[in-house]
Amino acid sequence: MSKTDTSQKDSSQLRQKTMIADHFTRLSKAPDTGEKCVYTYVPGNLTELLRAFDVLPVLPEINALQSGMRGKSRDFIAMAEKQGHSEDVCAYVKSDIGMQATGNVGPTGERLPPPDLLLLSYTGCFTFLKWFELLRERYKCPTVLLQVPYQGEGVITPAMRKYVVDQIRDKVIPELERVTGRKYDEDKLKENLRRSAKAEDDLVAVLESAKNVPSPIDSWFGGVYYIGPIFTAFRGTQDAVDYYRELRAEVEERVRLGQGPTTPDGDLGEEKFRIVVEGPPPWTHFRELWKMFADEGAVVVASTYTKVGGTYDLGFRHDPDHPLESLADYCMGCYTNLNMPTRVDMISNYVKNYKADGFLINSVKSCKSFSAGQLMIMREVENRTGRPGGFIESDLVDPRYFSSANVKNRLESYFQMIQQKRAAKEIA
């Protein structure tokens, strides 16, 4: 990796870091400044609408994964278990509950404000419901549940759309007006949506750059950083627009130079394996797992996890001309709200379009909305693409469920299996 390259890479990274730091500082000061805070989740978040009310979003599962990456989740989980949560409860929930029980100090070391409102878009994760019931119990604050119909038939019908739009107009907006004391300003929402669509265009360009050989990015380990701003508190902001414009330029420069992705341990050498990954990463062992991939020359060229906060690469964009309808479509289009055949289609297309050697499933012990049906998905995708599937098991933020030796053994076997198949093909 050249010197100039490092500084280019750092430029968007630094920008993101500053954005996040500023946001958390603003959150920590909210009790003094009087800014209102809403706790909400990544899939189906209504950030543009919240921002139209000048409300600050807090994403509990992002805080949980940050706790996992920073080695704090183990103690938080232990604390939640002490309070009576079972070992089988989602580790995100327990990490968050543990964090709240110990002072609600967030990932940047600053205290998070209590919620003024809990806003839940129900997009395929039943646990979210229970999670907010626990938070409501703690904070005694108003709660809004936006019912998002599952795409059981693989399509969004006009009736489904109307059902969600009606709820946004009749339930969500009035509650936000009540909590903030402001009137709903549709022009402001439209402005936010316009900026969202711009950033979404650039994000898709970044993710699709992985169709190049070699891929300039890693779409899972690297991808989780790229989706950071747009999946969380920043969609619809000028900061997000600037970040994605800059990131896209960096990535396009890497493509022009024929460069592969960078990893925390430096430049990835030769690209030996192109892999599609299904499932979230094990946050507690994120770096370790990345190194296992990098050591084998394996690059993730597409992942489903980078679609949990929106399937923009399938064509969806927020649309200022149809503000509430596009928010509704956004919620219904999140990855975990898609039925199994659609997921199989998506992964199979990734394998083909990104010229992948195979696809790997990271099955997460405490996440049912991801893990359900994964073995069926694996068989189906294998049949359709003729590419081998691999399977590893770990957890989101519970470090007890990550066995390094076992995961490494399976990964090595998997990559060697691809290698062996490739060699056999060359001989034939």
């Binding site: 073995l375 068989r379 294998e382 081998p388 599937g389 399977f391 098991e393 469920y401 066995s403 030796a405 076992n406 053994n409 399976r410 090595e412 076997s413 060697q416 299996m417 062996q420 198949k421 056999a424």
Partner: protein, 443 residues
Amino acid sequence: MRYAVGIDLGSTTTKAFVLAEDGSPLGRGITNSRSNYDLACQVALTEALIHTRFALVAQALREQGVPEPRAFALLADLERLFRREQYRGQIEVLARVTREVVGRFGVEDARPAVERLLSAMDAESDALYAPGASRKSDFFRDLAGSRWHALAEEDAKRTGGGFDVLTALFDKAILEVENTPWGESTFETFVRAAMRDALRIAAADAVPLERSVERAVAVVLEKIAGVGTGYGRARLPFPKESIRSEILCHGLGAHAMFPGTRTVLDIGGQDTKAIQVDDAGIVTSFQMNDRCAAGCGRYLGYIADEMNLGLHELGPLAQTAERTVRINSTCTVFAGAELRERLSLGEKREDILSGLHRAIILRAMSLLARSGGVHAEFTFTGGVAKNPAAVDALKSLVKENYGEVKMNISPDSIYTGALGAALFALRDAKARTTAPVTGEVAA
């Protein structure tokens, strides 16, 4: 003679398989995986090369016109006497180390007893390796350990001395004995010692025997390639490109043993693997047990300990069951608790054991299903394939779920991974156009 070697470093045992340049099997060796992995590999390789040289002796006997049954008998005697000399050689090392340990720990009072034990063990070696005598294990640690403990108990009873001190001394010493590297000329040293008695027994065939042994000793064995596999493979003294996953090695090894193989089940000490291979032995899909080791060989080891039985006694005892008790727990430790509970309820040991064997195989069935099912031919490998009750349970469950499927079990199934690794080594050697890289000579 040039050879390629595959080494499978497992959690319980380390195996080596030696192939000639033309791919024909030459020899194989096994040892217990001690804390020193490098040494375990070295010992397994030395054993495989000893086995190779015995094969060379057999070949030389044939070439000299000694008829097959006679050659077989001569070889059996020679190998038995060789093992006796090897055992004595290790007792010598044990004696040296134990004497030193006595001094180091200042337990001079125990010295006379130690000397009595050592000379008794040496004296016993003739009987231990007499024609037709059976031994509980092939590993020095187990053999010497069981004799030492028995003799120490007797000695302590007779003299009123301390049994615990003697046991502790052995435990200290055996670690060092095991970690004492073997010399480069192990075969030559012990075979020459064995020849004294072997020639006498051979009588009229003494001349061809001596010639054959000398010929085998004279062969220079030159390693041209090596591949390592198994759980400890990262620790093997091989470069990274010479290390293969045991999944691939088991797949290829099973294919080499039974070319019709399409599904492989390997139940080892700490993991279970279900592997699908194509008609060339190339792995197409696999599943392994996850974070939990229930359903692996260690499960049976744990149960054997709980029941105060030897591992090899479990299967035959379970086969005498009249009914199979349903064991609900999939957890090794819970199964132990369930075992005690069932015993206290008056269930028969063999019936519970039968249930435990079924439980372990049920876990394997789930992995098999996840890997893509069971297809003919089906090859069962790993240490657990030696357990007849596990084999019975597997047969019946496969039949229940997949119908009649031809099932293969090789008596050498424990070497499947090492054989696969050796085949990979040979392929690597052929792929290299340059001359051999190393020329290690051992045993």
